[in-house]
Symmetry: C2
Subunit: 268 residues, 2 copies
Amino acid sequence: MKLAILGPEGSFSEKAARQWNDKAELRYYDDILDTVDALLRKEVDFSIVPIENSLEGSITLTLDLLMEQQLSITGEVVVQVKHCLLSKGRLADIKILMSIPQALSQCKKYIKKNFRNIEVRSTLSTSQAAKLASESKEIAAIASRESARIYGLEILDENIQDMNENFTRFIVIGKTVPPPTGNDKTSLIVYLEKNRPGALYEILGEFANKGIDLTKIESRPTKKVLGDYLFYIDLKGHIEDKKIKDALGKVKGKVGMLKILGSYPAAE
Amino acid sequence: MKLAILGPEGSFSEKAARQWNDKAELRYYDDILDTVDALLRKEVDFSIVPIENSLEGSITLTLDLLMEQQLSITGEVVVQVKHCLLSKGRLADIKILMSIPQALSQCKKYIKKNFRNIEVRSTLSTSQAAKLASESKEIAAIASRESARIYGLEILDENIQDMNENFTRFIVIGKTVPPPTGNDKTSLIVYLEKNRPGALYEILGEFANKGIDLTKIESRPTKKVLGDYLFYIDLKGHIEDKKIKDALGKVKGKVGMLKILGSYPAAE
C-alpha cells in the first residue's frame, strides 16, 4: 500500500503515517496540495494530511481542498507534537530561525523571549527547516526530535511550544468508505441559504433531536462574498447508522448544498 | 486622535484607517500583536487590525487576542483588496517573491502558473515586502498599488488574486461602546461545556427564538485539549436592544463562559 505524506523524512506527517499503518510504503511530497494531488493522480492509495492542531486550529488549506476536490476521508490519526530547537551551532551562533508558520506560531512566546532580534523565515515543512539548518551553523530549525537524528543536528532545547498540550489531527484520504466499527465519525460540509436567519439552528436541530453528537463545527468562507460561509461539521456515528442517514436526509432538503466527506473510525 | 495600524506606509491597514477616519494621526506597528499592544499601553486611542478575509477566512491571531486580552470592538471597516505584482526589475529578473502568507495564499494559482521555480518568502506585511523589493531587482512583492508609489516600484501586473471578489474586514479596537445607530453588530465569545451534546443548538435557539440574526459563527480551539472549542458569534443588533439583552441573559446561564466583545456600527 502506497501512502502520500508531507515530506521530507522526519516530519510529523511521517509520525502520523507510521501510527496509522506501520507497513505502508511512504511517498514524500513538498506541500499539502501535492500530497493530495498524488492521490488524485493515482500515484498512491491514500494520502495523509494535517487538518487541525489543538493550539492553532484548522489547517484551512486542507479544509478548502475537501470542498474543491472529490475526496473521501477514510481515517484519522492524532499525533502529539513536541517541538525542538535544532542547530549545528550553539545558541549564540544563531542568526536565522526557520520552521513552518504553524510551528513558529506555536512557539511564539518562546521565540519572543529568546530571539528578540533574529530573522524568522517560513519553510514548507519542519523537516525542510531542519535540512536547511544542517547547511549552516547560523540557522536553527524548530522541528521534531526525529529531524535532529536524520539531519545530524544538536537538540538545543526541547518542548519549546507555548502550551504543553499540543496535538495535531491528521486525516487519511482515500477512495473507499470503511465499514462501521462502532466508534466512527462522519464529516460533512453544508451550505445554508444566505440571509435566512436561524438556518444553522434548524440544521443543528435535526442532529440534536436524534441525539447525534457534534464533535466539531467550523465555518469557512465560500470565497464568493464576504460574510457568506460553508459549515464543516463532524458527527459521532457512521453514515450507515439509521439515525444519521435519517438526519442527513432531512438536512438535505433544508440546505443549499450538502457534501458528505466520509465515515471513518475515530482516532483513539 | 491617535490610531495604531499595521505598517509600514501603503498597507491595506492604512486604507482601512483612512476609510474609517481620514483625520486620525496614524502610528505604524510591525505586527498585529504590537498594534493591539499599542492600545493596551495607551500609546493610541484606537487600534485597527484585520479580522477576516473573504478568500482566506479569519485572521486567527486577531481572534485569539480578542479572547486573551481585555479589548472592546468599537467599529468595523471593509476594504477591497487588489493585489499587484511589484518590482524594480522585469519579470525575467525575479528570483524571490515576497509577501504576507495571506496574500501569497490569495495569489496561489497565479504564483503556481507564473513562478514555478522561484523562492517564495513570507514577510510581516505587504508593504514590508514592497520595501524589500525596492532594494533589489531580483525581488518582487505582492502588495497594493499604493506601495508601488511609496517605494518606487513598477506595477508588473494587477489584480493577480485568484478570485476577483477579495475583501478584508478590519475591526477597530478601543475602550468605549458606541451608542446604537440602528445598524449595529454585537460580537461575543462563548465557551460551552464540553461533551454536552446539543449545547450549541440550545444557544443558537435563544437567538433564533427572538429573531436575532447571526452574521457569523466561528470556532477556535481553547488550546487546552484537542476537540475543545470556543465559539465566536456576531449578531445583528446592539447590546442595548432589549431582545439582545434578554437573549444574552438566557445564554449566560447555559454556558461555561460568555465574553461580550462589544457593539458597534456595522460596515457599509
